[in-house]
Amino acid sequence: MLKIYLDLQKKTKLNLKELLEAQVCKSNKALSKISIKISSGSQVTLIDDIFSFGTFDYEFILDNKVNFVYLCNIFSKDNDKLSKRDSAPDILSKKIKVKLIGQDSCAKCFYRILGTGCENYNIKTCQEHWAQKTESFFEIKGVVQDSSKIICDSEIKISIEAKESIANQVCKGLILTKNGHFIATPKFQVETNETSCVHGAAISTVDSEQIFYCQSRGINYSDSYELLVNSFLSNSIFKEPQAL
């Protein structure tokens, strides 16, 4: 396991690929599980687009008053979100665990996945609350095209110590083709009543009424379709931002 310790008091935006490349050169270890501990008071935004690396287990451990944002975009770099990206493996498995061990820490994680061809995505997330007044907001949005498949296995754990914590988790899927396959398994385990825990999942296709609305404004069908898919991927109910 590769262990990284981040101590960033100022608001910092990092690219996970660059961070790991530097650490791999330093440590010379094979990567399978990566544990990143973020020290008290840090404010970190981490951008993750390292799919050519293969399959990873990430663990983020948040100390007191950490503000952590994780952005994971799994589609093409050229901003054409409906086209297939280069060099991605057909099966991608990613496991992300965020452990909120410090009081007043907050984690926001956003996934955007576009499955095309025969791609098979297996995304596992875990929000573990171990301290008081911690907050976590996870949002996973997946679009399934062709014969691709997305499995989202998301878990929230709130321990008895994590009083006055808030945990939210949303999983949304858009199936665009007959052979698409989307599985959502949102779970939670709660051990205290002094908490607010919510999860939700919704799977549908592009709403024909919304397409009609766009068309009635003079936008043709395929542009309307793309507009709606792109806006599905771009918007977030947890209001995290620009980098998406």
Binding site: I160, K163, G173, I175, L176, T177, K178, G180, H181, F182, I183, A184, T185, P186, K187, F188, Q189, V190, E191, T192, N193, E194, T195, S196, C197, V198, H199, G200, A201, A202, I203, S204, T205
Partner: protein, 443 residues
């Protein structure tokens, strides 16, 4: 019974005593093989306290089910009178079955419903009287290979209800069965088969109780419902087993074209419950609804409940609403599945599970699965865990209501979507049961 332990000899003797046809004995033996070769579920509550060799698989209370209460043995009659069962039959029901230990002791249907062809009988008698239904439907919805407890039930089943509603008949008042376990270390394995023929309507209510013993008892029922074209079946369960009972049941329905199946499931009692009523929406236009409440109100009590909706056909819809209340160290868990098969266009499904935790010792969990293989669908799931909202309490108390009553009102409001579907007499009973379970945890 000479044989007491679960074995091929026991099953042959049981089937022989019941004078069953050869095909049923063969099915029982096949199920025993499945039971022996399958393992306990690796997920869910701890079942280590359950010793299959220590359970009494068959206790015969009477020779045959009676049609009048005066023919029922005095001691058994007293138990049911104490529970208010004969009274309920007089005032509210179209028919009543009462099972004591392994056999139905009483089964009767009001004359007016018998005349129009409604069959409401104990399953053992029905197997002999209506073999064509059994050959066609028995074990088709829940096959013996489905899970370990369904296999056990198929191997040793005894008692239960059989209902057949002819085409176009609307049974306007409910049919009810009441199940009672009285013996220590007893296993009750009733089998219920409901067939609602085309465009018929039927409501079935099931209630369960048992006295408390220090040793474990097992209730492992199987319920199969077949709702044919245009039929509507509403199945209520108010489960109030004592805390030493393991309640591990398999309930499933098949909904044909334009039919409606509704499970309304209240789990108040038992030490461990594993119950996930399912509906297979097999043909176009079928609809299903599941409303459940689970109350875990003592340390060690686990209510592991949920629902499954399997959409096989286009334009089908389903809704699951699950309400759980944990208090005094109890655990409630929702486990559910919504599966949409390829080709099931236009499916709509909605799942909502809410949990109310009344103290810091209790636990709650939700583990739903949504599996979609079709694009033109609309599926959503939402789950919440919360405590009693202080603002709501303040609002009620500012109207001059004391805190204990205010909290009870909030709890009753939380389960209201479930209670308002119950027939009035059961709704009143349900509210009282919840208040009773909440005693000491509120205020």
């Amino acid at each position: 019974m000479k044989n007491k332990k679960l074995s091929q000899d026991f099953i042959k003797e049981l089937s022989g005593n019941k004078k069953e046809p050869a095909w049923m004995l063969a099915l029982r033996l096949k199920a025993l093989e499945h039971f022996e070769n399958s393992s306990l579920p690796e997920w869910g509550p701890d079942l280590s306290g359950l010793n299959f060799q220590d359970i009494c698989y068959y206790v015969k209370p009477v020779t045959s089910p009676q049609r009048t209460w005066k023919d029922v043995p005095e001691e058994i009659k007293k138990t049911f009178e104490h529970l208010g069962v004969p009274q309920a039959e007089r005032y509210y029901l179209a028919g009543l079955g009462a099972q004591y230990e392994s056999e139905m002791v009483y089964h009767n249907i009001k004359e007016e419903w018998g005349k129009v062809g409604v069959i409401f009988s104990d399953t053992d008698s029905a197997l002999k009287e209506y073999p064509k239904f059994f050959k066609k439907y028995f074990g088709t919805v829940v096959p013996c290979s489905d899970n370990k407890f369904a296999a056990l039930n198929t191997a040793v089943w005894s008692g239960g209800s059989f209902i057949y509603v002819p085409p176009g008949v609307n049974v306007t008042i409910p049919l009810q069965a009441y199940f009672r376990i009285n013996t220590e270390k007893m296993g009750q394995f009733e089998r219920t088969l409901i067939i609602a023929d085309k465009n018929s309507i039927v409501t079935y209510v099931e209630g369960c109780t048992a006295p408390t013993y220090s040793t474990a008892s097992l209730h492992s029922a199987v319920v199969e419902i077949i709702a044919l074209e245009g039929a509507r079946v509403r199945y209520f369960t108010i489960q109030n087993w004592s805390k030493n009972v393991y309640n591990l049941v398999t309930k499933r329905a098949v909904a044909h074209k334009d039919s409606i199946v509704e499970w309304i499931d209240g789990n108040i009692g038992s030490g461990v419950t594993m119950k996930y009523p399912a509906v297979i929406l097999k043909e176009n236009g079928a609809r299903a609804q599941m409303l459940s409440i689970a109350v875990a109100s003592s340390a060690g009590q686990v209510q592991d409940t949920g629902g499954k909706m399997i959409h096989l056909a286009p334009e089908t819809s389903s809704r699951i609403i699950s309400k759980s209340i944990s208090s005094k160290g109890g655990d409630t868990h929702y486990r559910g599945l919504v599966k949409i098969s390829k080709g099931a266009e236009g499916v709509k499904s909605f799942v909502q599970c809410d949990t109310l935790m009344l103290d810091g010792e209790s636990k709650a969990g939700a583990y739903p699965v949504i599996d979609t293989r079709e694009d033109k669908v609309n599926v959503s799931h939402e789950a919440t865990v919360s405590k009693i909202n202080e603002d709501e309490l303040f609002y009620i108390m500012s109207r001059g209501i004391d805190k204990v009553t205010a909290r009870t009102l909030v709890v009753n409001g939380f389960i209201e979507p479930f209670v308002k579907l119950l027939p009035m007499e059961f709704a009143v009973e349900m509210n009282r049961l919840i208040e009773l379970e909440m005693t000491g945890s509120i205020g």
